[in-house]
């Protein structure tokens, strides 16, 4: 609970940011607050009430989310052009902090009502942030589309919750009677509602538009945070349910998701759309982990989420840097990047290779864990589908690796601002850290 309180206070400070006297202290205070928020878990760990359970899952997923937002806050802080001013966009930062509080709650619920509230606390700032680049029409459209579809998804989730309640008379999971059809239907609808957030087919149609429309710094943060939060929530959900209720549907969704995501990603010319579809494909891989839930599932989904977040943040940071150097976010904008800035190219290559799952980057271990899970589940057909998907993924990711080394549109070198440099260096350090000490993340569960 401490972490939520600290984040709320930080958010309020951010809302008042324009009027505060010591503006220079804002960033250090925020980052310190994030660190304290994570330490806060240790003081009340483990806490189980009828509403919350701050357990190991919420601590680990919450830690990843705090790191994601921490890095993004640094880059957003250095990016003052949201409102045509040089001031840091304090309101944007405040909304990001509030959304992170929602994310932390999404992995700390034990009462379905709390899950619903958490999803909304995460979503409402996101609807606004996606549209925060008000001078771009795409940004507004994305915001509107995300809002409407998100509201429908909330309704579906709520209807599922109501059906579950009708079938079982309880808001706590794990109570569903195996023969209660109404309860089972409710569970499926609730899973559908959470899958919407995770961008799983057939609830994926918002993903490419929102990724493309949102300001790039926000896109990277959102892609990472929402995926980790949604899969954390799913982990908590399906862990307490019987496999027969959702097994087949989730398997179908996983296969559809990764295949559709990969196939559509191949054809994209816009970087952000390509990464959006590849993000859909990653959601599909992560869903495989729940077939069925075993003791390694949590480790796998946690490690996959963390490595995906790291890769995604790196990739979108580079895209943002490219956009600031005056190029639009198309695949062609990457051309000649190697000549323009080697450090950025290094971050780009490492992140993309990690997303592609090339050893020894963290994405490889993540994919290996998923594959081991599928092998253990004895679905040989599923194994082959997954394999082919990995191959397709590697194909289009390598296209992205190719371009920085070819002749470019622009020859001038890319210059980074101080905060961007800090962000890039942190991301590089984290990536290498995950290569050398994956044990640190793998051994927590």
């Amino acid at each position: 609970m401490y972490s939520i309180i600290i984040l709320t206070v930080l958010g309020i400070i951010g809302m008042l940011g324009d009027m505060l006297p010591l503006k220079r202290l804002f960033l250090p205070v925020t980052l310190l607050g994030f660190a304290l928020a994570w330490l806060g878990y240790f003081f009340e760990f483990p806490m189980h009430t009828s509403l919350f359970s701050f357990d190991l899952i919420s601590m680990c997923f919450g830690g990843v989310m705090l790191v994601i937002t921490g890095i993004s806050v640094i880059t957003v802080y250095g990016y003052g052009s949201f409102k045509h001013g040089s001031e840091p966009p304090y309101t944007v930062l405040a909304l990001m902090i509030f959304a992170t509080a929602g994310g932390l709650l999404m992995v700390a619920w034990s009462h379905l009502m709390m899950l619903f509230l958490a999803i909304e606390i995460l979503s409402i700032p996101l609807y606004v942030l996606v549209g925060s680049q008000g001078d771009r029409k795409a940004s507004q459209e994305a915001s509107l589309k995300y809002f409407l579809l998100g509201a429908v998804a909330s309704c579906i989730f709520l209807f599922g919750m109501a059906l579950y309640y009708a079938g079982t008379g309880s808001f706590l999971l794990g109570a569903v009677h195996p023969h209660s059809l109404v309860g089972s239907a409710g569970v499926l609808l609730m899973i559908a509602g959470v899958c919407f957030k995770a961008g799983v087919v057939p609830f994926h149609s918002w993903v490419p538009d929102v990724y493309e429309g949102a300001p790039t710094v926000i896109t990277g943060w959102m892609a990472a945070l929402v995926k980790v939060a949604a899969f954390g929530a799913l982990t908590k959900m399906v862990g307490s349910l019987s496999y027969s209720v959702w097994g087949l549907e989730v398997m179908g969704m996983a296969v559809l998701t990764m295949t559709l995501g990969n196939v559509l990603a191949v054809q994209q010319g816009s970087l952000k759309r390509l990464l959006a579809y590849s993000g859909i494909a990653h959601a599909g891989y992560m869903l495989l982990v729940f077939l069925p839930v075993t003791e390694t599932s949590i480790t796998t989904v946690f490690f996959y989420g963390a490595s995906y977040a790291l890769g995604t943040l790196g990739v979108f940071t580079v895209i943002h840097i490219l956009e600031q150097s005056g190029l639009s976010a198309t695949v062609d904008a990457l051309r000649g990047l190697f000549k323009r800035n080697k450090t950025v190219t290094l971050l780009w290559c490492l992140s993309v290779l990690s997303l592609a799952g090339i050893p020894p980057l963290p994405g490889f271990f993540a994919k290996l864990l998923v594959l081991m899970h599928v092998v253990k589940a004895h679905h040989s057909g599923l194994l082959w589908v997954t394999f082919l998907n990995f191959l397709v993924g590697v194909y289009y990711y390598f296209r992205l690796i190719l371009y920085p080394f070819t002749g470019g549109l622009s020859e001038e070198s890319v210059v980074l601002s101080v905060w961007q440099k800090v962000g890039v260096v942190i991301l590089l350090i984290l990536t290498w850290g995950a290569v050398l000490f994956p044990e640190f993340l793998l051994s927590v569960f």
Binding site: G11, A94, L117, L181
Partner: protein, 168 residues
């Protein structure tokens, strides 16, 4: 009682259909208000008096007035909304009917497990709900403040955007 239920249900469904299938937005809003009142009636029947009051105040009172206000502001009532292609409509209605059939069949298939023996009377009065809300559910109640804070911050940010852009 059954008659009352049936009448209210009929009113709910008819006004809901009216919301979806009228072209004129004003009529649409008005029938939605009727629908909400009918649902409030259901709450009264179910002895959830507090929620019935809230439903009238918040939904029919605040939210729908906000809707009407926006409609007037945008002057949308003048031109009737263009409709989607007929084929798309048929598909949409078909999909929804399918969902409905699925839901209803689920309800009937598991009927003996859903229908419970009636228990002692319940009363959703303020005196019953209040302690629950502020004791057991105090934390989520406070958490909604985060929701509202972020909603307010967001609304202010988006709303003030046009002004700042004009200034520069």
């Amino acid at each position: 009682m059954v008659t009352l239920f049936l009448v209210l249900s009929l009113l709910t469904v008819l006004s809901a259909l009216c919301v979806v299938f009228t072209r004129n937005l004003i009529y649409s809003v008005l029938s939605l208000i009727v629908c909400f009142f009918a649902i409030a009636g259901h709450y009264v029947l179910l002895k959830a008096s507090f929620l019935a009051v809230i439903q009238v105040i918040v939904y029919a009172g605040a939210i729908m007035v906000l809707f009407l206000f926006m409609l007037m502001l945008m002057n949308l009532n003048k031109k009737a909304e263009a409709s989607k292609p007929f084929s798309l409509k048929v598909v949409a209605v078909g999909v929804c009917l399918l969902v409905l059939v699925a839901l209803v069949s689920i309800v009937f298939l598991s009927a003996p497990r859903v229908c419970f023996a009636p228990l002692a009377p319940v009363s959703g009065s303020v005196s019953a709900l209040g302690p629950l809300l502020f004791n057991e559910y105090a934390i989520p109640f406070e958490l909604t403040s985060i929701l509202f804070l972020s909603a307010v911050a967001g609304v202010v940010m988006i709303g003030s955007y046009g002004k700042k852009a004009k200034k520069q």
